[in-house]
Structure formats: C-alpha cells, structure tokens
C-alpha cells in the first residue's frame, strides 16, 4: 500500500485519494499547521497521532473544509477543496468524505434510522424506501439493527459512535475521516467502535484516523504520521514507528504512552 506508484490523475484512476500540499493555518499569530505536505493513497489507512495541541484535529478538519486554511491545497477527487468554489460544489465534495466526530454529533431529534437515512434522502435525493433499507443494512453492519427506532439519547456512547459511523457510510464516501472517535468513550466501549473501524479497513476503505489508540494503529494502520507543533515530523509504517521512532519527540511521546 505504501509503495504505490504515484503518477498524475488519470481518469479517476489517480492512486492518491487525498493530496495535502503546503497547507498552513494560523490563528492570529499562532501557527497551527506549518506547511503540511502529505498524501494518502487509495485504500490506505493512515493514523495521525501526536501530543495534544499539535494540530491533529485541525489538520483532519481542514480536509473537508470544516476549517479554512491560509495557504496550500488539499486535493480530493481531482479538485482542490480549498479553492474558491460554489457552495453547492463544496457540499457535493463534502458529501463524498465521511467524517466521524469525537463527540458523535448525532441528531438528537431523529431516530437512529432517520439519523442514518436523512442525508441520503435530503442531499442525494435517494428515495425514502431505498434510503431506509440501506440504513437498516448499515445499522446491521455496525451491530445495531435492533436500535433502529431508538433515539440517540437512549444509546450508550459506543452505540452512538457506531451509529455515527453508519450515518457517514450512508453517503457512500470513498474516504472516511475519524477525529478521535474513541476519546469521548468509556474504556469498555472503545473496543466495539474500533472493531467497526477495523472491519471498514479490511474492506479496503481509505481511512484517516486521529487517535490515541496505539493498538489500533499497530494492527490496522498502513502508515502513521506523527505530528508535533503543526508539523508532521515522522511518517512511518507501524513497525518502524513503534520499534525505531527516529525523531526524539516521537520517542518521548511513545515513552510517555507506556506509563
């Protein structure tokens, strides 16, 4: 996966799913991202890790333009997401990038099945019946078929996050982004969410995950990006990263995790 030949775009056969080029972002004088240059290949699972405040979440949120950037470009589907464009085009691009939030952000006024089927109906114009059936399939996939009529407030955190994953998958995105999907969960619920993510990875989904779950990173990731103070200072396979981290900051980070 990591050694894919990277040529330019060829009729949608571009092996690169996301290309982040020279992305910088500042809040006032504070530089959150300092010229990030990375690429994610199709089907690749990338885990982004790093200390808090390093810019991990900001980076992943810039990929579907929930955060604006000051310079650089993020290319997806052959288009720069941060180029000036009609909001309709931006919405269409966003609908093709699944996003899972740390705090789930389910819609509390809708039942679980409506949470999953609402966007295909309203954004893509899928018929209600088709969207509903698809939603039930997806809920079955994340192990929550029996919760279809429940409301988010009745579910545990782990269940809510699995619904959120199903909701993102309902738009059939070729890419999924996860922003600390397990950080708001009780420890005993982390496993059920990671299991769903693992099965997604096995099916060949292109995934970008900000996470502190090093076990997941070791088992599932094709590559790990270590980010510190707005710079990606280490890009490595899990074996390299966990056994021979090159950068001293990464070594310290891993040492701290072992406590």
């Amino acid at each position: 996966m990591t050694s894919l030949d990277r040529t330019g775009p060829q009729n949608g056969q571009d092996p690169t799913a996301i290309r982040i080029a020279g992305v910088s972002k500042t809040y006032g004088t504070y530089e959150v991202l300092k010229g990030i240059d990375v690429e994610v290949a199709r089907g690749e699972v990338v885990v982004i890790c790093g200390p808090s405040g390093s810019g991990k979440s900001t980076l992943i949120r810039t990929i579907n333009r929930l955060e604006e950037i000051n310079s650089g470009a993020i290319t997806f589907d052959g288009q720069n997401i941060h180029a000036p464009m009609k909001t309709r085009d931006l919405n269409r691009l966003r609908s093709r990038i699944g996003f899972v939030f740390q705090s789930f952000n389910l819609f509390p006024h809708l039942s679980v099945v409506d949470n999953v089927s609402m966007s295909p109906i309203r954004v893509k114009g899928v018929s209600r019946d088709v969207a509903h059936d698809k939603a039930l399939l997806l809920l079955d996939r994340v192990g929550l078929a029996d919760k279809a009529t429940a409301y988010p407030g009745q579910l545990s955190g782990g269940q809510q996050q699995r619904v959120a994953i199903a909701r993102a998958l309902a738009m059939e995105p070729p890419v999924m982004l996860f922003d600390e999907p397990t950080s708001a969960l009780d420890p005993e619920m982390v496993g059920e969410v990671l299991a769903v993510m693992k099965s997604l990875a096995k099916d060949g989904m292109t995934m970008l995950c900000v996470t502190h779950e090093m076990g997941f990173a070791r088992d599932v990731a094709d590559r790990i990006w270590f980010i510190d103070a707005g710079e990606i200072i280490e890009k490595a396979t899990p074996e390299e990263f966990f056994t021979h981290p090159r950068h001293p900051r990464a070594q310290r980070f891993l040492a701290d995790l072992r406590h």
Binding site: F101, G153, Q154, R167, A168
Partner: protein
C-alpha cells in the same frame, strides 16, 4: 354582582362575540381570535427569517434586520401602532384599514421579539450539529431546516409560547386605532351601561385568560408529545425515562 355579570352576558353576548356583524364590521371575540391567529401565524415564519438574517454572514442582510430588531424592541408597541396608523396613510396616501395596520405592526413587533428567541435557540446548539450536517453535504439552509431549527425551536417552546401569549394580549391595543375587537366591544358595552365597569371588564379579563390559558395548555401538550417521542416512549417499548429538559423561565415582554 354575579347576577349583574350574568345579565350583561345575556344582553350583550352577541356583541362580545362578533361585534356589530352583519350590520357592521366583524368584531368582538371573533375578530380578536382572527387577529391573534393571523399575527402568530405570520410573526412566526417572519421571526425565523429575521433570525436567519441576523445570523447571516452577509452584512446587507444582517445590518438592516439588526437595526429593525433593536428599534422595534426599544420602542413601545403603542407608539408603533400610532405611528403606522397615522404615518402610513400620510406617506402613501393609501387608506389602510385599521385591522391591517394592527396586524402588520403586531407581526413586525412580535416577529422582532420572537426572532431573538429563535436566534438564541440556534446559537445555543452545539457547533457540532452544524459541523455534522455540513460534513454530510447539507447546504446551510438544508442544515438549518432539517437539523438546527427542529432542535432550536423545540428547545425554545417555553419562550416562543410566552411571546405568542403576549401577542394575543397585545391585540387589545388595537382599541386605540378602532380595531373592532373584543376589548372594543367590551368598552362599547361599558359605555352603554356606564355604571358597571368592574363587571364588564371582569368578563373581558376572564375571556382573555381562557384564550391564553388554552394556548398554553395546547403548547404544553405538544411539547410533552415531542419529548415523549424523542425519548422513544411512544414506540411502546420500555425505555429509560429521560428527565424532562430544564425549562427556562422567561420574562414576558
């Protein structure tokens, strides 16, 4: 005293109910109900549009509405009514019926108040809801319609209700520009009787109380139904009982 009230009621119930209709314009309780219903029915959508304009990133939309809201909220309703009653015909030369003047003024005035309630409801929601809607590809207005407003309006039901109730009560001010409503009818009755103002206006107070109470009651039922549905209780399954949301007591304007 009670017999007085019963007698007044027997003699004047038709005047209180429909005014001088069919010999004159429709008035009395019927007109009050029509004016109230129209004011609420129009002020509500207007307030949502005003709230969205206030939250808009376009200054051309935001500024005029902000000014309108501030001015409207800072000026007594009675003054606005007199203003539109005297100024609109002066400036346009049009002969506007007092009912229309009253309705328009009420819609703008209560729309301005209500828009702040709606805006508060929208702003109070976590950013995550808008982020999630955007990430799924919803447009701004689509996110508002399907995600934000259903939650914001539900959360604001108590405040919205109190604005509705004060709208009903404010229809009485139509009296000063001769809108033939219930208050107008009651004062006609009082002018004929001359000696029983307490009894006449007690009847008036009771009728207004019943109207406002009915609206409050209906709204509470609606609110309970939504709460139960969102707690999954109407699905007929045993579900954990969710604590009712904390109600925010709001002062009435």
């Amino acid at each position: 005293m009670i017999t007085d009230i019963v007698t007044i009621f027997q003699d004047y119930w038709l005047l209180l109910l429909i005014g001088q209709y069919p010999n004159g314009p429709l008035g009395g309780l019927a007109n009050t109900l029509i004016l109230s219903a129209l004011s609420i029915a129009l002020a509500f959508p207007v307030s949502i549009l005003m709230a969205l304009a206030r939250l808009s990133k376009w200054r051309l939309l935001r500024w005029p509405v902000t000014v309108l809201v501030y001015v409207t909220r800072g000026v007594p309703l009675l003054m606005l009514i007199l203003w539109s009653y005297f100024l609109v015909p002066l400036m346009t030369g049009a002969d506007v019926p007092s009912f229309v003047t009253m309705l328009t003024t009420l819609v703008i005035y209560q729309g301005a108040f209500l828009s702040e309630v709606v805006r508060g409801g929208i702003v109070a929601l976590s950013h995550g809801q808008m982020d999630a809607a955007k990430a799924l590809g919803h447009s701004y207005l689509g996110a508002m319609r399907f995600v934000i407003l259903p939650q914001a309006l539900y959360n604001m039901i108590p405040s919205i209700l109190s604005t509705f109730v004060s709208t009903i009560k404010d229809t009485t001010l139509g009296y000063v520009i001769n809108v033939p409503d219930l208050t107008f009818a009651a004062s006609q009755v009082n002018n004929q009787l001359l000696t029983q103002p307490f009894q006449v206006f007690l009847i008036l107070a009771v009728i207004y109380y019943v109207i406002c109470w009915s609206l409050t009651h209906a709204t509470h039922r609606l609110e309970r139904r939504i709460t139960r549905r969102r707690a999954g209780l109407s699905a007929g399954r045993t579900a954990p009982v969710v604590a009712p949301p904390v109600k925010i007591a709001t002062e009435q304007p």
